[in-house]
């Protein structure tokens, strides 16, 4: 089975802190994605990557950056956490872009206080 693992299930950080959310997949997928999920807003794409060292902005990239130094790992970075970044963060990976399913990690619920 494809496994997408996020480093933390729950995280509490202080305003202004630099926060790293890590995601690792074990199926040699080219594509990796970071979404945030908020009640009533569904899944919104933050950043995605189709290859190592490649990154593209999604719909809501402001306040975030990403890093993909290895194919299996995609990190989301909050440069200076703010309370409006309190959310559920979901990492996903897929083999292709259009025609293959996305596999999601278990999610990281981040609270910024």
């Amino acid at each position: 089975d494809v496994k997408v693992t996020q480093s933390s299930r729950y995280l509490v950080k202080r305003t202004g802190e630099k926060v790293f959310l890590e995601c690792v997949q074990d199926m040699d997928h080219e594509n990796m994605f970071w979404y945030r999920q908020d009640p009533g807003l569904g899944l919104r794409l933050i950043y995605f990557s189709y290859d190592v060292k490649m990154k593209e902005k999604g719909d809501i990239p402001e306040g975030y950056s990403v890093s993909r130094e290895k194919k299996e790992r995609f990190s989301l970075i909050l440069e200076s956490a703010s309370t409006n970044q309190t959310s559920m963060y979901l990492c996903a990976s897929s083999l292709g872009t259009e025609t293959t399913e996305a596999f999601f990690g278990q999610g990281t619920r981040l609270t910024v206080v």
Partner: protein
């Protein structure tokens, strides 16, 4: 930009009743995918539809893709408590990542 609209946002049904959620895209989709997220869980892939007018069934679930490839539906016959969760449709408008609808949260009253 690309939008995928999903209705209703919430649906409460008695166990045994049918349930339908609808998905509409502002642009033509190359395919449509459906995901289910159980309470406290993460989205899990259910199915993908590719062809115009395609209909697929998974036990009590029936998925349809519209002729114009801009709308889709998921119908559940005789809901059970195990059907509880949020159902998302998602489509890639060309060579771009999946755009998700906001989901329909289904509650089933036993």
């Amino acid at each position: 930009g690309q939008q995928v609209m999903q209705i209703p946002q919430y649906q409460h049904v008695q166990e045994g009743e049918d349930f339908t959620t609808y998905c509409n895209s502002s642009t033509t989709l190359s395919n449509i995918q459906w995901y289910k997220q159980r309470p406290g869980g993460h989205p899990v892939f259910l199915i993908q539809l590719v062809k115009s007018g395609e209909v697929k069934k998974q036990k009590r679930l029936t998925f349809q893709f519209g002729e114009a490839k801009k709308n889709s539906s998921l119908h559940i016959t005789a809901t059970q408590t195990t059907d509880v969760g949020t159902y998302f449709c998602a489509g890639p408008p060309g060579n771009t990542p999946l755009v998700f609808g906001k989901g329909t949260r289904l509650s089933v009253i036993a």
